[in-house]
């Protein structure tokens, strides 16, 4: 266990789980951690899992690890007294004569950032593995740059920790790092104060001139400035800035402050609101006179910008002086600093480094570790030739090693999927957060500290159970969650690690192999009637699923439960049906209501209709009762009428009209070139480019399955073709017919309309020539079928006054 403890120190994890390893596979995994076969050549029949785990990379160690810490670590890493004696030399050799980490400057970090890091540590569920106060010894090991790099991309240096990729944003990594390293926070008296203001930018919808609640929001930028202005903004509209500083008043007396802004701004001194400049309006100033004592005062400014121009200025007038900007040397960002690692006491001389390199060769470090310029070790004896009673010069030998040595020659058959799954779950530490089969799950103390964001009970806070996961979830969904970070539960703030694609596929395959039940992947029938029935069932007025569940990214009316649109992609049909019919049989104590008293055939048909509706995914018709969040420019299409939007469309022209339909198959007409140009599904359009600022930005579909139709060719026998749009008409239900002049006296009417087909919704384009005959070539494009009747066709003869229906499927 000495070895295990050493790795704990490197990884900073409380207990790597070595001791919890079982015996099912016949080989104990802590032996694999020994990586014996990295040095000792295996003979046929040796269990290959002995060498299954990679080791930390040693390249660039001087960028991220301090010398004193490394020496201490190495003293335990090598076996026996010899290890302790050579630790300093090896550390010196690994770090080189001038490690970068020892020459860094203090890093400015505000106390707010440190506090946010602590909150994030608890919120993300780091506590499942780590102690409440963080990671022991981490502040002696590395600095903020090193730790941020690790947190952002652990696999780059620590392939031995495949479960430590949490897809952290840079800001998150920095906050976490600042908190973990808070032991090196500079003492206020010793660190020089930083002139200027600490500033944070927040992106949020500003609907009115009032003061927004910024607490708990993630800043879009955090920085430092000498002047109060809008330079730190990350966008031009709908943002807030917060400036904080310690104001150093030179003398006692009355101070005048002038705060000018477009739009709103507020100034607090020592917690008192002294200027309120509230309006969504052009730049204007407000003054206040405040009596201050000489010395330090807390200053806070909040600024908001809704739309249009943005500007912010702060002036002050100390007693006896004139009005002007607050000089940077009179304000100090209330930022603490994290002190760099002190240069260690490692030897730096060539002799020590040479001894260290010799020791590295002798210990065969390069067998396990990748690194720059590591001495290549001599060959080690073969695994088969090792004596079970001898010590190893590289690592301490444990009883488990000795048992593995004793079993040499005993053939190990292929491991059962159940055992492999159990081993993977342990090795990837899944059970530190999730429970399965009555074991695992987050410890109570860690669980208590998770953030509750929605009124969804424990299901809304804690990582979900993995019971029967392979029966419940599609294999592709498990892979997407593990490898791509697909997230069904945005309300659970605890974050699941991302795995490599190979590892995710392996794990998903094991779940499927172990948990699948025959027939659990048979889909119920699909029909237009079923989709509509499903849409009605989930809607307000039906079973009102949308009161607790989000739908297509839109908020629900109550708690923001899991989005309905992903459930087809996520849940296997067998589970889906049982979950809707009798949820408590699958998950006792769930908040999901049971809507049907008995699983009658009628109930099953209705559940299958919901399944048919979810099968259209994000393109499923929107159920009644679902609305856009405020501040969104997403164009909703009502269930009973198409929606028209005139816009500039990317790649077409600035003279287009897009038509969104309740069926959620949408199309766009390029009026400038008189042609049907785009088809797509799902989301219609985000109108921000047309409806915000001065508009005129080029839009693209907000949905999926986007088809750009090639230009049609129109021929009218004996007539000169000159095409232009004559306008459009709407039928009683609001679907348009576009009227195109083709030649003098010859008009083409083009009426596109969605229709339910077999498993999907298609577009039917009803074409009619008026005033003569017309031949149309409709060239197709990959992924699009063009049919007339049931037959693929691209050339159509239109007889005067007789309509032809062209069907697009894609």
């Amino acid at each position: 266990m000495v070895l295990g403890a050493a790795w704990v120190a490197v990884a900073g994890f409380g207990a790597v789980g070595v001791g919890a390893v079982g015996e099912q596979g016949g080989v104990e995994r802590d032996v694999a951690i020994g990586r014996c076969l990295a040095c000792h050549a295996a003979s046929p029949g040796t269990d290959e899992r002995l060498a299954a785990l990679p080791s930390p990379r040693l390249s660039g160690l001087g960028e991220r690890v301090g010398g004193d810490w490394l020496r201490g670590f190495l003293a335990g890493h090598f076996p026996g007294r010899a290890g302790r004696e050579r630790a300093a030399d090896v550390a010196a050799a690994l770090l080189g004569p001038a490690p970068a980490i020892e020459s860094r400057q203090p890093v400015r970090v505000s106390s707010a950032v440190i506090e946010q890091g602590g909150a994030l540590f608890r919120e993300l569920g780091c506590r499942a593995c780590h102690a409440a106060d963080g990671v022991p010894d981490i502040a002696a090991k590395t600095d903020l740059r090193g730790l941020t790099a690790f947190l952002t991309d652990a696999r780059a240096t620590r392939p031995d920790l495949p479960f430590h990729d949490f897809a952290l944003e840079p800001g998150e990594a920095e906050r976490l790092g600042a908190w973990l390293l808070r032991a090196r926070r500079a003492d206020a008296s010793s660190a020089p104060p930083t002139p200027g203001f600490a500033v944070e930018c927040f992106e949020l919808h500003i609907a009115d001139p009032g003061l927004p609640d910024l607490d708990g929001l993630q800043p879009s930028a955090v920085g430092h400035t000498d002047t109060v202005d809008v330079e730190m903004r990350t966008r031009d509209d709908h943002f807030a800035l917060r400036f904080s500083a310690m104001l150093d008043a030179p003398v006692d007396g009355e101070y005048r402050f002038r705060l000018g802004s477009d739009d709103s701004s507020w100034l607090w001194l020592d917690g008192d609101l002294v200027i309120r400049n509230e309006a969504i309006a052009p730049f204007r100033t407000r003054d206040a006179r405040v009596r201050l004592t000489a010395g330090k005062h807390d200053l806070l400014i909040v600024f908001t910008e809704a739309g249009g121009g943005q500007r912010l200025e702060l002036d002050w007038q100390p007693p006896g002086a004139s009005l002007g900007p607050v000089p940077p040397d009179r304000v100090f960002a209330q930022a603490d600093a994290l002190l760099p690692l002190a240069p260690g006491s490692l030897p730096r001389d060539g002799e020590s480094i040479a001894r260290g390199r010799a020791a590295i060769a002798a210990a065969r470090c390069a067998s396990c570790h990748a690194g720059d310029d590591l001495p290549v070790p001599d060959p080690a004896p073969a695994w088969a030739a090792l004596r079970a009673d001898r010590d190893c010069p590289s690592v301490p030998v444990t009883p488990a090693h000795r048992r593995a040595l004793a079993r040499r020659g005993t053939p190990t058959g292929p491991q059962a999927p159940r055992d492999r799954l159990a081993a993977e779950l342990r090795e990837l530490r899944c059970l530190d957060c999730h429970d399965r089969g009555g074991a695992g799950g987050m410890r109570d103390d860690a669980r208590r500290e998770l953030t509750e964001t929605e009124d969804l009970g424990e299901e809304g806070r804690a990582p979900p159970s993995l019971d029967r996961a392979g029966h419940r979830l599609r294999r592709t969904w498990i892979e997407a969650v593990l490898a791509e970070g697909r997230d069904a539960r945005p309300y659970v703030r605890a974050r699941c690690a991302r795995l490599s694609a190979e590892r995710a596929a392996e794990l998903a395959g094991l779940f499927a192999a172990v948990d699948s039940v025959p027939g659990d992947d048979v889909e119920p029938p699909f029909s237009a009637a079923a989709v509509r029935e499903g849409q009605r069932t989930v809607a307000v007025g039906g079973f009102s699923c949308v009161i607790c569940h989000r739908a297509m990214g839109r908020p629900s009316l109550g708690p923001q439960g899991m989005d309905l649109a992903i459930q087809f992609e996520r849940l296997k049909p067998g589970w889906f049906r049982q979950w809707l019919l009798q949820p408590a049989t699958l998950r006792p104590g769930t908040r999901m209501p049971q809507f049907w008293a008995q699983p009658t055939p009628a109930a099953i048909a209705q559940v299958d209709a919901v399944r048919a509706w979810t099968s259209l995914g994000a393109a499923a018709p929107i159920p009644a009762g679902v609305a856009n969040p405020p501040g969104s420019f997403r164009l909703e299409v009502s269930p009973d009428r198409p929606r028209l939007h005139g816009a500039f469309l990317d790649g077409l022209s600035a003279h287009c009209i897009a038509v969104g339909t309740p069926e959620r198959v949408h199309f766009a007409y390029d009026l400038a070139h008189a042609r049907l140009a785009w088809l797509w599904r799902g989301e219609f359009l985000d109108a921000e480019g047309t409806w915000s600022g001065r508009a005129g930005r080029l839009l693209k579909p907000a949905g999926d399955d986007w088809i750009v139709l090639p230009d049609a060719r129109l021929e009218a026998p004996g007539r000169t073709v000159a095409i232009r749009t004559l306008g459009w008409r709407l039928d009683a239900e609001g679907y348009p017919t576009f009227r195109i002049a083709v030649a003098d006296g010859l008009v083409l009417e083009d009426a596109p309309r969605p229709r339910f087909g077999d498993r999907q919704i298609e577009l039917v384009r009803r074409l009619t020539a008026r005033g003569g005959d017309l031949r149309i070539e409709l060239p197709t494009t990959p992924g699009l079928s063009t049919l007339v009747g049931a037959a693929p066709q691209t050339a159509i003869e239109l007889r005067d006054g007789r309509a032809v229906e062209v069907v697009y499927r894609w």
Binding site: F283, L644, L671, A695, G696, G727, A732, G734
Partner: protein, 478 residues
């Protein structure tokens, strides 16, 4: 900064809101929370009002002036419809890329037929290529003004930007005037002529109101290459010299049409937009004058015109400030109140809102005010709304100065070469409302600022607004 502060000063100084409220009330119009009224066009139709919005919608307000107008969506899917007009049984609309006419053929309360009357101009895809209008000419043609682009032209450079164009009743496209900049208002005068307002910027010294006549050039060189196209009714104006004063520019460019009225920046608004004539006397004594909405200053100001030696010229005057947002469109309701349609999306404006509707309602009381300034051979004639106190009429009661502008490629022009002018004599007329000022130093092409600071009404009241800005294009011979 200086300009902004200047505007603030003007906002606060000359007019107390209480006094303004006494004569002209601002009436708010209830608006549902889920309806956006970024107003592009206003069309009052008896008891109802059609409002076209920059979001491409047309809202119909029934019982529009009541305390609870009923809103319904009449049309959608239009592109920035910045003007509405009813003619010949159709509702006409100026969209970015076309002049269209629409109707509700089945009477279900929603537009169901849209005919593209003309789309002969192209769009580069630049956001600033707005299309304003239409204004109906006596010959049945529809006039539009086409804004010029600023910046990216993702679909390529196009003709006819910065032009006024005319669509004949049979749909023919006729580009009639060049050299416009940001022509946010266009309207037909009671006499059947078409005027437009333009906004200060490059090649436009300050806001202006100008007559549109076929073949005229209005000063901005952006679109003059289109003059060489066969459809153009404007001869190529030649090179546009950069930096001339107005009198020099008028001489150097014979085709350059000087404005009827310069609207001095930050003295009277900043960005003039829609305007209407008060032919019915809705606003009491100001019958016959023009009321203009300003997109920046959230005010309605007024203009009087007179024809001198065959050319329109006149003066602008403050009227009513304090609306809630920059005003794009104004229109008379049947009840004589003035609809003000507003939006400031994409620019800044005074006021507390970013869009919406308000109405100005004349309260029936006549303020003592400088009603109108007209030019005379040797000075100006000032008419007041009510009798003046003769004792206050003396040269010192007036302050007159004039200035010119520079015609150049940079944004806007300062007031150049300001000169105080001496009022030699002030003579009150028999009607006791008219004062003739005899003034030396009047110069054609200059703006003359006339303040009646010391004048008092017969009852002792100060003028509501005692200032006028007269653009003297031509000095009367007699």
């Amino acid at each position: 900064m200086v300009i902004a502060l200047c505007a603030m000063t003007l906002l606060l100084a000359p007019q107390s809101p209480d006094l303004a409220d006494e004569f002209v009330s601002i009436v708010d119009v209830p608006q549902p929370a889920d309806v956006s009224l970024e107003v592009g066009g206003l069309l009052p139709r008896g008891d109802e009002l059609f409002v076209s919005t920059r979001r491409g919608e047309i809202w119909r307000l029934q019982h529009a002036t009541s305390a609870a107008p009923e809103y319904s969506l009449w049309a959608e899917g239009l592109q920035e419809p910045l003007g509405l007009l009813e003619h010949d049984g159709w509702i006409w609309v100026a969209q970015r890329g076309e002049l269209s006419r629409m109707r509700d053929s089945d009477g279900d309360g929603r537009m169901d037929q849209l005919e593209t009357v003309c789309s002969s101009w192209e769009l580069s895809g630049n956001y600033h290529e707005y299309c304003f209008g239409p204004a109906l000419a006596p010959d049945g043609s529809m006039w539009l003004t086409l804004n010029k682009p600023f910046g990216d032209e993702p679909f390529g450079h196009v003709d006819w930007r910065g032009w006024a164009v005319r669509i004949t009743p049979d749909g023919k496209f006729e580009p009639v005037c060049a050299g416009l900049r940001s022509p946010a208002g266009i309207a037909t005068s009671p006499g059947g002529e078409i005027f437009y307002t333009d906004n200060q910027g490059e090649w436009c010294a300050t806001g202006k109101l100008t007559l549109l006549q076929v073949g005229d050039f209005h000063g901005h060189p952006h679109g003059i290459d289109s003059c060489r196209r066969p459809e153009s009714l404007v001869p190529y104006p030649g090179d546009v010299p950069d930096g001339l004063l107005m009198d020099e520019a008028a001489k150097a460019m014979p085709a350059y049409r000087l404005p009827a009225v310069w609207i001095p920046y930050d003295r009277v608004g900043r960005s003039p937009a829609g305007f209407v004539w008060d032919t019915a006397g809705n606003f009491g004594p100001y019958r016959g004058q023009i009321f203009v909405g300003d997109q920046y200053s959230a005010e309605v100001f007024r203009i009087s015109l007179e024809k001198v030696e065959g050319r329109w010229q006149g003066a602008c005057y403050p009227f009513r400030r304090g609306l809630k947002c920059g005003i794009t469109r104004v229109a008379w309701d049947a009840d004589g109140s003035l609809w003000c349609g507003m939006t400031n999306r994409g620019w800044s404006s005074l006021g507390t809102a970013s869009e919406g509707l308000q109405r100005l309602v004349w309260n029936g009381r006549t303020p003592f005010d400088l009603l109108e300034v007209t030019a005379r051979r040797d000075g100006f004639r000032l008419r007041f709304t009510t009798p003046v106190d003769p004792a206050t009429i003396e040269p010192d009661a007036f302050a007159v100065r004039n200035w010119t502008y520079r015609h150049h490629s940079t944004y806007g022009s300062p007031e150049i070469d300001p000169r105080p002018l001496e009022v030699r004599a002030a003579t009150i007329g028999d009607d006791t409302r008219t004062v003739d000022l005899q003034i030396d130093g009047l110069v054609p092409t200059r703006v003359h600022m006339i303040e009646a600071r010391g004048v008092r009404a017969a009852g002792g009241a100060k003028p509501w607004h005692g200032v006028a800005y007269y653009t003297l294009e031509v000095q009367p011979a007699s």
